[in-house]
Structures are given as structure tokens and as C-alpha cells.
């Protein structure tokens, strides 16, 4: 591990001054569950860590009936929050499907959002080429063991996936990210935060050096009260997703009036399934319509050598989750 300095930031402005002002090698530190590991592997080599876990860890209702979630809220605290469970069950479910209880007790909301891919070639510093780790080096995953990798939105430079479960729900819920940075405060739709790899896979997000996530805001979204998260993985607990689906569905008189759908484990970013949503709004809530919507989303899927199964798997999981939500009526969270 390279030496680094450690400072606890008293507030967001202090954090930005400490990290963004002068030190190019500074990184914000949340629960450390990903960053400490990456530093130990020398994949991340910060010269300064600015601890932002002392910043907002509150969850408050907004005037509009949404929720404002402080960036330092721990994953467990978010999943167990009464209003998250009742208004956004897919979010509670997604968090509870991720990592382990110990890690969820440590990890913060912002840290979860900014965690890095678990692509084995990204981690294999000694033996593999990786454009995300070393821009321009090449990608050994594209022709390697790529069973876990992306089927949507990948590029010749990178086929890694974003590992978060929580983010899949945030993508489906139209969350907004509150940021502060050297240029002041601003807001960003969550869907615009993470990037597709293109030819710059080293950039996971659109954030600029020094930018700090201070909160995540959920809009009021009555449809989300009937929502679910389903994760398919190699073992039933404590594993990353092969494919996951976050979905909310509103049906009136047999017709889909609103639908929110996002996929995990399939792309470089949490994948909002806008094409499927568009295909489904106004359609009858039938399996045939769910099949067509899923197929519309996956039409441009480009599987690699080892992960063609993900296309069929995503199709089936989307249809199954929508089907369950349609059947569950008003009977709760449907999961």
C-alpha cells in the first residue's frame, strides 16, 4: 500500500476543499468496503483520503413527498428505513440482495454508487490487460472468461459490468444525485451519472475531480409502492448478479398505466430499460406484452463468448417479475 494522508471532513465544503482544491490524488472515503480493498491491491493509489462518513447520514421526507437520503447513510439503515420499505420496496430489496450484512453495515450510499467493477481482469493487475485500470492497455476480458460480463452498451474497450444492486433500483426510481464540487452545488439525474465505457472505460461516471455526492433524492412515485427486485446469481446469497431486475408496475383495468424497469449485471452502468417501458405503457398487462417489452429492450444485446445465456435469462426474469407484480395487485411489495 502506498502512503496516504487521512483527514475527517467536518462538512461537505471542507471535504471539497480538502479533496478538490489542490490534491489531484485525493479520494473520498466512505465505509471503505471497496476502496480499501482497491488500495490494498494498488489499483487505487490515492495520496490523500478524505473521510466523508461524518457528513449527512439522515433520511428525510421532501416537500414533494419524496425522500432525501444523505450520502453517508449506511446501506443497512437505508434498507430498514420505514418509508423505504413501504414506498420503495424495490430499493430495500435490492440493498438486501447485495453483499453481506457486515458489508451493508459499513457501506455508505455514495460509496455503493461509486464502487468499481468486479471484473476479474480489472483486479488482476499482475497478469491481465485492462483499459479501465490502465487506459490504452487493452482488454483481456473480451476474449477471456466473460461469463459475468456485459451484454448491453459495451464497447471494444471494455465489457465490464457495474456491480451494484442498489443502483439498479435507483435507476428505476428516477433518483436525483445531489453534488457539490469546486464549481458549487448541482443536481444530476441518477441515470446520467454512470457512463457507458466507449473509449474511456477508466471513467465510470461523469463526475469531475473533487465532485462529492452529498445526497440522493427519490421523487414521490406511488407506482413504486408495488415494486420488486429479483436477482439471479450463482449462489443464493453473497454473490454478484448474473442478471437482476428492478421493476414497478401500475395496472388499471387490465392496462399498464405506468412501469419502471431497470437491469443489473448486464452493462457498464445500471441499465434503465426505457425501450421496454415505452413498449409496455398503454398495453394490456399480459404475458405476451411483457415478452414483447423485454424483447424490445434486449434486441440490441450483444453477447460475448460465455454470456449468451444472459440474454435469455434477462428476458425470462423481466417477464417473471412483471407477471408477479401484475398478479400481486395491491397486495404489497410483490417480492
Amino acid at each position: 500500500m502506498m502512503p496516504f494522508t487521512y483527514t475527517q471532513a467536518a462538512d461537505a465544503d471542507a471535504a471539497v476543499r480538502l479533496a478538490g482544491g489542490q490534491q489531484a490524488g485525493a479520494r473520498y472515503l466512505g465505509g471503505g468496503t471497496n476502496l480499501v480493498d482497491l488500495i490494498r491491491e494498488t489499483i487505487e493509489r490515492p495520496t490523500a483520503l478524505v473521510d466523508v462518513t461524518g457528513l449527512s447520514d439522515g433520511i428525510t421526507e421532501t416537500d414533494g413527498g419524496g425522500l432525501l437520503i444523505g450520502a453517508a447513510v449506511r446501506n443497512t439503515a437505508l434498507a430498514e428505513h420505514r418509508l423505504v420499505r413501504s414506498r420503495y420496496p424495490m430499493l430495500a430489496r435490492a440493498i438486501l440482495a447485495g453483499a453481506s450484512p457486515q458489508i451493508r453495515n459499513m457501506a455508505t450510499v455514495a460509496g455503493n454508487i461509486l464502487q468499481r467493477t468486479r471484473c476479474a481482469y480489472f483486479y488482476d493487475q499482475a497478469g491481465s490487460r485492462c483499459n479501465k485500470r490502465e487506459p490504452g492497455q487493452g482488454c483481456d476480458a473480451i476474449d477471456g472468461f466473460n461469463r459475468m460480463h456485459a451484454i448491453l452498451g459495451a464497447s471494444p474497450s471494455c465489457v465490464a459490468t457495474h456491480p451494484s444492486d442498489m443502483c439498479v433500483a435507483l435507476a428505476a426510481l428516477d433518483a436525483t444525485v445531489h453534488l457539490t464540487g469546486t464549481q458549487g452545488e448541482r443536481r444530476l439525474p441518477f441515470a446520467d451519472l454512470h457512463r457507458l465505457p466507449g473509449d474511456e472505460p477508466d471513467r465510470d461516471t461523469v463526475l469531475q475531480p473533487g465532485d462529492l455526492i452529498t445526497a440522493v433524492e427519490l421523487p414521490a412515485l406511488p407506482t413504486a409502492a408495488r415494486s420488486a427486485y429479483r436477482k439471479v446469481r450463482d449462489r443464493s446469497s453473497y454473490a454478484f448478479a448474473l442478471v437482476s431486475v428492478a421493476a414497478a408496475l401500475a395496472v388499471e383495468n387490465g392496462t399498464v398505466t405506468d412501469v419502471r424497469l431497470a437491469l443489473g449485471g448486464v452493462a457498464h452502468k445500471p441499465w434503465r430499460a426505457s425501450k421496454a417501458e415505452q413498449a409496455l405503457r398503454g398495453q394490456p398487462a399480459t404475458e405476451a406484452a411483457f415478452q414483447a417489452a423485454a424483447a424490445a429492450e434486449l434486441a440490441e444485446a450483444t453477447p460475448l463468448r460465455d454470456n449468451a445465456f444472459k440474454v435469455e435469462l434477462a428476458q425470462r426474469v423481466i417477464v417473471a417479475v412483471l407477471g408477479e407484480l401484475a398478479e400481486s395487485g395491491l397486495a404489497g411489495d410483490g417480492a
Partner: protein, 173 residues
């Protein structure tokens, strides 16, 4: 300000790179907490911080200034085992024993989460005020602690017996 470990105040390391795990083992010589994978995958390093279970390998010690850490050395004593330790013996909740301190600290933290009503991945009703101590619940909630000897069934038996018989926090102390 330092950090409290099993009721004793100790100094934080000068070097921020020192993990809580290395502070416990290398500086304080509390070798009960084990280093398994050192990358957050196995749970052998689980300790309690202010009653919450965390992974000490991924924790920088300096982040825990002013907090109270409990390791396996603070859970029981020679001749006065914690009921969970006794149950692990009776139910063959270990073979080599390497994961056991992490399993026990994890289970103590887990029971507090269950009592608090924190749902798990398999909890059917997200709004339930009382969650059953079922085997499936316990298995899911203990999935962050791996046992390469394969003693998981004994581990779940030990936890289930301990806390079904002593559902109240006081009774388990």
C-alpha cells in the same frame, strides 16, 4: 481520542493504512480475530463496533476513533463461555475453528439486527414487525461468514438453540 477495545482505551495507529484487523492482531496481540481473505469475502475478521458487526479487514482503524470494538476476546472468558460459544461446542459448529470467532461475533450482531426488525433478502413481508428465527433466515443472515470445513449446519443449530431458548438480550449475556 483513541479507540476502545473490549473495554480498554487504546491509541489509534499513526499510519492511516493500518486496518482495524491489523491493529487488533499485530499491535494489541488480540489474535482471536482472524485474517482469512483480507478482502471482505470470508467474514473471518468480523468484530462488533458499538454492537454492529463489521469486517475489520476493510476497516481503516483511524475511521473508528471514539468507537467501542468488541472482539471474541471480549465475548466470553475461560470458564465462563458465552452461551453461543457453549452451543457451538455442543452442536459441532466448527471443525478447524478458524472461522469461529468471526461466526460468533457475526451471530451476536445478527441477533440484534433480527430483534430490531431489519428484514433480510428472504424475509417475505418487508413490513413484518417480528421476524421468525427460522433456519432460512439465520442461514441468509449468516451468509457473510464462510466455513471451509462445512460446519454451517452445526453453526445454524447452535445459533437457533441459543436464541430460541434465550430470546431476550439479557438472557444471552
Amino acid at each position: 481520542m483513541g479507540i476502545t477495545v473490549n473495554g480498554t482505551d487504546v491509541d489509534l495507529p499513526d499510519d492511516p493504512r493500518v486496518s482495524l484487523l491489523d491493529l487488533l492482531r499485530e499491535k494489541l496481540h488480540l489474535s482471536g480475530t482472524k485474517k482469512g481473505c483480507d478482502q471482505g469475502a470470508c467474514g473471518a475478521c468480523t468484530v462488533l463496533v458499538d454492537g454492529q458487526r463489521i469486517l475489520s479487514c476493510l476497516a481503516l482503524a483511524v475511521q473508528y476513533e471514539g468507537r467501542s470494538v468488541t472482539t471474541i476476546e471480549g465475548v466470553g472468558a475461560d470458564g465462563a463461555l458465552h452461551p453461543l460459544q457453549q452451543a457451538f461446542i455442543e452442536h459441532d459448529g466448527f471443525q478447524c475453528g478458524y472461522c469461529t470467532p468471526g461466526q460468533i461475533c457475526s451471530a451476536i450482531g445478527m441477533i440484534e439486527e433480527l430483534r430490531r426488525g431489519v428484514p433480510s433478502h428472504i424475509t417475505g413481508d418487508l413490513h413484518a414487525t417480528s421476524i421468525p428465527y427460522s433456519r432460512d433466515e439465520l442461514r441468509e443472515r449468516m451468509s457473510g461468514n464462510l466455513c471451509r470445513c462445512g460446519a454451517h449446519n452445526g453453526i445454524i443449530d447452535a445459533i437457533a438453540e441459543t436464541y430460541r431458548a434465550n430470546p431476550q438480550p439479557e438472557a444471552a449475556e
